[in-house]
């Protein structure tokens, strides 16, 4: 393998190539870093690149493959699953010795002194960490336009947003800058950008993946998950990062399903759809949904039905309250989580004038962008004496009702919920920047899933106006393997669909430019 084929290979293909000796991690790493150099001036996905470290990690991986090849098949198969596979981290994952900005000026110049648990696990699994990707400041946003550093464009249309908040990670995978990347999803920040950039993104069950070392937005909603270009690749990365962690008291001991590493493929995957029961929630086909999106999603549902899946319409009546509830709970938690950015210990500081209060006001007033300030104010207000019961307590009660809506679906024997991920395809830059509520509505179909702590995945299911549409599958707690198996089945069913042949733009031909 070489050149373009290396660049476009999935992680699963790369592993096989590394094992056989058909390709080296160093060659892939060089290829990707070179592509990034050429194209990120247009794409804007990356905030920090680890050229030297990544190449060194690739060389070490290649040495291990070479040694194992000399020892035989057993040694090769015993090598860690992600050995030599290049990956990207959203810039809120702490990685020792690298800058971690969370897309914010207030963390400009901050260098992590420790590894997030998932960073340590990716290292353990042998991954080559290319660098850190752009994001909405503190993961607050749905377009990555709230990054304090740069604009990330959608590889499918460079006048369009890549979604957010993990827009850098989704754009990087969609643009073939990395086969795998890490995102976080608090209200849709993995699934929505996956949908808008035409790739796979999974938000695991709350507690499945450790949050230790992930810059917090809303602690009870945040989850870490992979972006990939196939369900199988997503499963590979999820397996590497998931599992109980002694550093995260909310991480779960629930065992990982072994089928994650053994997903069905091809005909076997397609035939596994037969007999599965899918719930189609009518409330997710919201007013204002783009007709092309609805058409693509309904086509996908029809394809599942044609493959023997059983689809029934259901009602999730609390859906309409999820958005309002989310915008109490998430900002409330964020208002406390972001209190540590006070300019006292790290990051950008405007202290020094002597007056402590003034130092806080200056540091935080200048260091945080408009959306972060808006949410801190919202959250602070919701927690204030006299308002706490009416807002925060009430929101937690509604949250319980949202979770019960989903419980009833599982009690009725459904295997998964199918729904649109985003009511729209990627929109043009600036379209929602002056109207926060219209931006918030972009997550109407994803945030109920966070409120209930459930796993959700977005997989490509077609195009509308030449832009990708995502199909969302929502599962029972801990059913990530089931969701990924169904996703692999859908991929097999639609392997030859015409829309699959359509590719994002070749960024190199769009002017490019060095990082």
């Amino acid at each position: 393998m070489s050149g373009e084929s290396l660049r476009r290979a999935t992680a699963t293909e790369l592993r096989a190539a590394f094992q056989s000796g058909a390709a080296t991690s160093r060659a892939v790493t060089d290829e990707l870093l070179n592509a990034i150099e050429r194209e990120d001036g247009v794409l804007g996905a990356w905030l920090h690149l680890r050229h030297a470290e990544a190449r060194a990690e690739a060389d070490r991986a290649d040495a291990r493959y070479a040694a194992a090849r000399a020892s035989g098949a057993a040694a090769l198969n015993a090598l860690p699953r992600l050995l030599g596979i290049p990956v990207a981290l959203k810039d809120l994952v702490n990685l020792t010795g690298t800058p971690t900005t969370a897309g914010s000026r207030i963390l400009e110049g901050y260098v992590s002194p420790y590894d997030a648990t998932i960073a340590a696990r990716l290292k353990e699994a042998g991954a080559v960490i290319l660098g850190k990707t752009n994001m909405d400041e503190f993961a607050m946003g749905s377009s990555t336009e709230f990054s304090a550093y740069k604009k990330t464009v959608n590889p499918w249309g460079i006048d369009r947003v890549p979604g957010g908040s993990s827009g850098g990670s989704s754009a990087a995978v969609a643009a073939y800058h990395a086969p795998l990347s890490i995102g976080t999803d608090t209200g849709g920040s993995i699934r929505q950008p996956a949908s808008l950039t035409g790739i796979v993104g999974i938000k695991p069950t709350y507690g499945r993946v450790s949050r230790y070392g992930i810059v917090a937005f809303a602690s009870s909603l945040d989850q870490v998950g992979p972006f990939a270009r196939s369900a199988q690749d997503a499963a590979l990365m999820l397996h590497a990062i998931a599992g109980a962690d002694q550093h995260d008291a909310t991480s779960s001991r629930s065992p990982l399903d072994a089928t994650l590493l053994n997903l069905p493929s091809g005909d076997a995957a397609a035939s596994a759809i037969r007999g599965k029961r899918f719930a189609l929630p009518k409330e997710y086909f919201v007013p204002g949904m783009e007709p092309g999106v609805e058409r693509a999603v309904r086509d996908a549902v029809a394809a599942l039905e044609a493959a023997g899946g059983i689809v029934e319409e259901v009602s999730l009546p609390t859906t309409e309250h999820a958005l309002a509830t989310y915008y109490i709970v998430a900002p409330a938690e964020a208002s406390a989580n972001l209190a540590r950015y006070d300019g006292i210990r790290y990051g950008d500081s405007k202290h020094g004038g002597g007056d402590l209060l003034n130092g806080y006001l200056e540091t935080r007033g200048r260091g945080f962008g408009p959306e972060v300030r808006r949410r801190i104010m919202l959250g602070t207000y919701a927690l204030s004496a006299g308002y706490y019961d009416a807002y925060y307590v009430k929101a937690q009660k509604v949250r319980t009702l949202i979770a019960r809506d989903f419980d009833r679906v599982w009690e009725s024997g459904f295997d998964a919920i199918v729904a649109p991920t985003s009511p729209q395809v990627a929109w043009k830059f600036g379209a929602k920047m002056s109207d926060p509520v219209s931006m918030y509505l972009a997550d109407a179909c994803t945030l109920p899933v966070n409120m209930a702590g459930l796993p959700g995945i977005s997989i490509p299911c077609g195009l509308s106006e030449d832009l990708p549409v995502g199909l969302q599958l929502i599962g029972k707690p801990w059913s990530e393997a089931e969701l990924l198996s169904i996703s692999a089945g859908y991929e097999a069913l639609t392997a030859t669909a015409a829309w699959r042949a359509v590719e994002p733009h070749d960024l190199a031909k769009l002017g490019g430019g060095a990082v």
Binding site: L92, V93, N94, T100, A102, L107, Y110, P113, Y114, A116, R211, Y212, G213, I214, V215, A216, A218, S219, S220, Q246, H247, D248, A249, T250, A332, E333, S335, A336, L338, A339, R340, Y341, D342, I344, R345, Y346, L356, Y360, T380, L383, S384, A385, Y388, Y392
Partner: protein, 477 residues
């Protein structure tokens, strides 16, 4: 006029744990370099998360059980939000609605008698960092922050407003410290800030009048200053009210050197901590079997031990209080009794509160309790007399020492055999004819002189009490 004080006490005390409350950092010790006992969690670095220290929770549950408080079936943690440089996360993890202990009592004895102070609640939280303000070599003032203390497990114990005078407040604080030390929950040294006492003080014209406006008094660095500061504050408030003015609700600091309190800050009644449940920590269920195990491992608490000493061992209130008030004295007392249950408790208590504590306060080594028991037993059974006992006790503190062997080898056994004493007395009397003449002349002290001579002749081994009787019989014969 007479004013009636109402006092409530709030105590913060660092728990004696191996690691901090929510991270694996060791508890800082004297002499540690600043910021050497820190990690991402207690520094509040981006992405760091708390994990509760089970041992700290168990200590608080033990304190709760020891004061007869109730533990909740399930508790949660809460975030208390405020900005200050000593609080790295911008919030303190604490407990608002479900403290680990609620509704207990602590018995307090003062010169006026014994009373019960109700405990409203005891909960667990994390300590803040330590701020140091100094002037640099360039003359500029700066504030330095040492995060070693940040995240140390902190127990907060709040009383009901049950205390009516400064002495009771002091005794309450002392009793609480004794209780915490007895059950191994804390060292609670006030002098180095391990235990911080704050008092809410108000006064009113009569016992049934509504509570007056209160002030909160801080910066009391010893038990003595607790008593003095509260007494001062009561007098200060009385003077204000008697002058026809009113009390300002505020926080006041105690200034030890001037013996007065001063305004630290006006009470921010409007301060809104925006408490809400800590989403990084799941609720904590207190399983009954877990709690039962903790309860069963609690040692006898001081008030129960004092009562037992008085009621079962017939010790005086004073002896019981002195013994129990010094955990090492009580430990020696208990260990000696365990070694020889036949020893007279009163004799043992006298030796422990007298000779032992005197030596211990001078920094002497701890005596071996078994040897100590042998010594007291020999004294009580009059095998040796008190003088010999004290000499042997001094040797016992030197380390390895066998009391019984020393008595036997050195012939130290007290002479109390009637025949031997008769013979000794006759010899002494024969050698001192003047004493007989004095006695006949009515000089009572002649007996004392003769006993003294007999003790000298016997090298201190004679039974002095018996010798007195023998001499009297001889003189009167």
């Amino acid at each position: 006029m007479t004013w009636h004080a109402v006092i409530g006490i709030e105590v913060h005390v660092q728990l004696r744990t191996v690691t901090k409350m929510f991270c694996p950092c060791a508890i800082p010790a004297e002499g540690d370099l600043p910021n050497s006992k820190t990690c991402p969690t207690c520094l509040g670095l981006p992405g760091a998360l708390p994990v509760p220290n089970k041992a700290a929770i168990e200590k608080v549950l033990a304190v709760g059980a020891a004061i007869g408080a109730a533990a909740p079936a399930t508790t949660i943690w809460d975030r208390k939000n405020y900005f200050y440089p000593d609080l790295p996360k911008g919030y303190q993890i604490s407990q608002l609605d479900f403290p680990l202990a609620e509704h207990g009592t602590i018995e307090v004895t003062t010169s006026a008698g014994t009373s019960r102070v109700r405990i409203r609640r005891a909960h667990l939280e994390e300590d803040t960092a330590r701020l140091r303000h100094e002037k640099g070599s360039d003359g500029k003032r700066s504030s330095l922050i040492d995060y070693n203390r940040s995240g140390v497990a902190l127990l907060e114990i709040v009383t009901e407003p049950d205390i009516r005078d400064a002495e009771t407040a002091r005794r309450y604080a002392e009793e609480l410290r004794l209780l915490l030390r007895t059950i191994g929950a804390a060292d609670a040294e006030m002098e180095n800030g391990q235990m911080r006492v704050e008092a809410n003080v108000s006064i009113r014209a009569s016992e049934d009048a509504p509570f007056g406006t209160r002030t909160e008094v801080k910066n009391m660095n010893s038990f003595r200053s607790v008593e003095k500061a509260i007494a001062f504050e009561i007098a200060r408030q009385a003077a204000i009210l008697e002058a026809g003015e009113s009390i300002t609700q505020e926080t006041r600091g105690w200034d030890e050197s001037s013996g007065t309190t001063y305004t630290m800050r006006a009470k921010e009644n409007s301060h809104d901590y925006r408490y809400f449940p800590e989403p990084d920590l799941p609720p904590l269920t207190i399983e009954p079997t877990w709690l039962a195990g903790i309860v069963s491992s609690i040692p006898e608490i001081p008030s129960a031990r004092r009562a037992r000493y008085v009621e079962q061992l017939a010790l005086s209130d004073y002896d019981a209080a002195v013994l129990v008030g010094e955990p090492r004295a009580a430990a020696l007392f208990e260990a000696a009794r365990a070694a020889d249950i036949a020893i007279d408790a009163k004799t043992l208590a006298n030796w422990v509160t007298g000779e032992y504590l005197r030596a211990a306060n001078e920094g002497a080594a701890e005596p071996d309790p078994v040897q100590f028991a042998a010594l007291i037993g020999a004294v009580f059974r009059k095998e040796i007399n008190g003088t010999t006992g004290k000499e042997l006790f001094a040797e016992l503190l030197g380390g390895s020492f066998d009391v019984r062997a020393a008595i036997a080898e050195r012939g130290l056994g007290q002479v109390s055999d009637d025949g031997a004493l008769q013979k000794l007395a006759a010899e002494v009397l024969a050698a001192n004819p003047q004493a007989l003449a004095d006695w006949k002349a009515g000089k009572q002290q002649a007996i004392g002189f003769l006993v003294g001579q007999a003790m000298k002749a016997s090298k201190g081994r004679g039974d002095a009490a018996k010798l007195g009787v023998v001499f009297k019989a001889l003189l009167d014969a």
